[in-house]
Symmetry: C2
Subunit: 348 residues, 2 copies
Amino acid sequence: MSTETAMLREAAEAPEAVARQLARNQDLCREIGRRLRARPPRFVATCARGSSDNAATFAKYLIEIRLGAVVASLGPSIRSIYRSRPRLADALFLAVSQSGQSPDLLSLAEAAREDGALTIAIVNEPASPLAECCEMVLPLHAGPERSVAATKSWIASLAAMLQLVAAWSADAALADIVRRLPEDLARAAAADWGAGEALLAGAEDLYVIGRGPGFAAAQEAALKLKEIAGIHAESYSAAELMHGPLALAGPRFPALAFSQSDPALDGVVELLRRLAALRVPLAVAGPAAQAVAGLPGLLALPLAEDLHPFAAPVAAVQSFYPLVERVARARGRDPEKPPHLSKVTETL
Amino acid sequence: MSTETAMLREAAEAPEAVARQLARNQDLCREIGRRLRARPPRFVATCARGSSDNAATFAKYLIEIRLGAVVASLGPSIRSIYRSRPRLADALFLAVSQSGQSPDLLSLAEAAREDGALTIAIVNEPASPLAECCEMVLPLHAGPERSVAATKSWIASLAAMLQLVAAWSADAALADIVRRLPEDLARAAAADWGAGEALLAGAEDLYVIGRGPGFAAAQEAALKLKEIAGIHAESYSAAELMHGPLALAGPRFPALAFSQSDPALDGVVELLRRLAALRVPLAVAGPAAQAVAGLPGLLALPLAEDLHPFAAPVAAVQSFYPLVERVARARGRDPEKPPHLSKVTETL
């Protein structure tokens, strides 16, 4: 395997890709924002698979927290397998896909549009079937992505959602956060999370913890740890971990946690203290790391302190990608060749 | 530890509890069904934690498949932590909780009711705060549950959802399925899944697979395997497993699969063939087991062939509970004392 993988190269391109994307999509997002304010959707439905579905989780929290619209995650199978026609009139339907190729997403997007939903495709490939069948397209402008493990397109899809929510809420402060995002990402790309290698590379099982918008980062990190590093990493919200999954906690079951400066922080900190008392080795990014400094077994992963809670999860994943790539190689795996997988997965 | 645990005893009570519940709630469900047909909700929002949230997954598939209403899973933290007021006017809000005590569910249910949603509490404890703050209560009538690992109340919550959906859809065929459920459960309680012990007790990691309504069974089985058997079991829909998680598949990572006779069956069978080719040891319940009979490493777990696809997941979990209790004991764990857990979990 080469010393620099396509995954690492593409992850490093994310800050620039996001800068390009935000500039190119600015007018489009304003237009979408105007439409959504003029006729507020009754609710929002997202449709996505794999890492794109983790990105949809980010949209769910942003929209529910900032705009008060309820967001449902619709499984494509509802239409493609069960032939149901979910009622989506007056809803906003967000389809998220890097390739825009999945036929099952397509059939649900078509049904949503026929039913009168405002359908928006968030895709990296604007010439794709999914983009063609949706009323509006929010292109990621991330450029070609060759690595099986999506990186820059994932970061770009979160940036697209943040820009969309800022435009929809017409919130000038949030628009500033969006403008600062490429710089936040550039700093995060330069941050060194290499200290996490020892903890992660030796683990066979792992919980990845996040809450609120940070839960999307936890989902994405867990998927990548499975996909390229061969570690059985499972994501949990800090609250859900207390219901049952805590039974597995112990010295041989480390946890990686993402946190941001928002009202969910206290709950994450409380959980980390609980885990530390159970001698769980911890790697923690964000303000929770400062809050539990000095706990035994704690490794703090550097994340800028001035990040907005909606930017922190995106920046954290930017710093995480080189770490997971490194962990994969330390475990003797080629990050470019995750076992049994291909770039586009077509499912029934 | 005693030879018969409270968990085993309570799980065995489920068929009778469900018979009692269906009889007592019949008129109430008819009334709810009339209201929902007279004023169809724009969408549905569920709110639950832990195993109750797995039960809510069952409601999601039933409602989306049979009634075409989109179902969103709302995290209680949206209200309790983030102080957001999700717009729920004209929605159906279903809160699911065995104890009805969780303060975070309460604050979201109150907000939903104030906003004009029809709020229904599905609870085992009708004198609970959650039941009091919802407009309507669908009691589980499961009787006291002492085991930390909920069993009969979980089965009862699925039965309640099935009865609710049958009444809402005014579908006589589905009403028949509901009427047959106690008998289906009694047969399932008598089925012997003990052959699964060897495969599960030796596993440290496991995927639990289901699709559509069967995904709820997979989520519940994975949670119980973690909670009382100390196995890192993770649930996946058959489609999502193909995106990344397949990278972990191999001889040391068994899979337990639930299936039912519905259009999702082909996809489950396709995945099982794929897993068998990767030498993944398989334990399979439902018609997928017949479809892949003869595959190397396959263990078929008995499930009646005449089960309706909405009844099969409930029956499968009824048969699974004694198995997981047995697996826990085989691994030297007391099913009554899962590490670090208590019966009611209060989360911020």
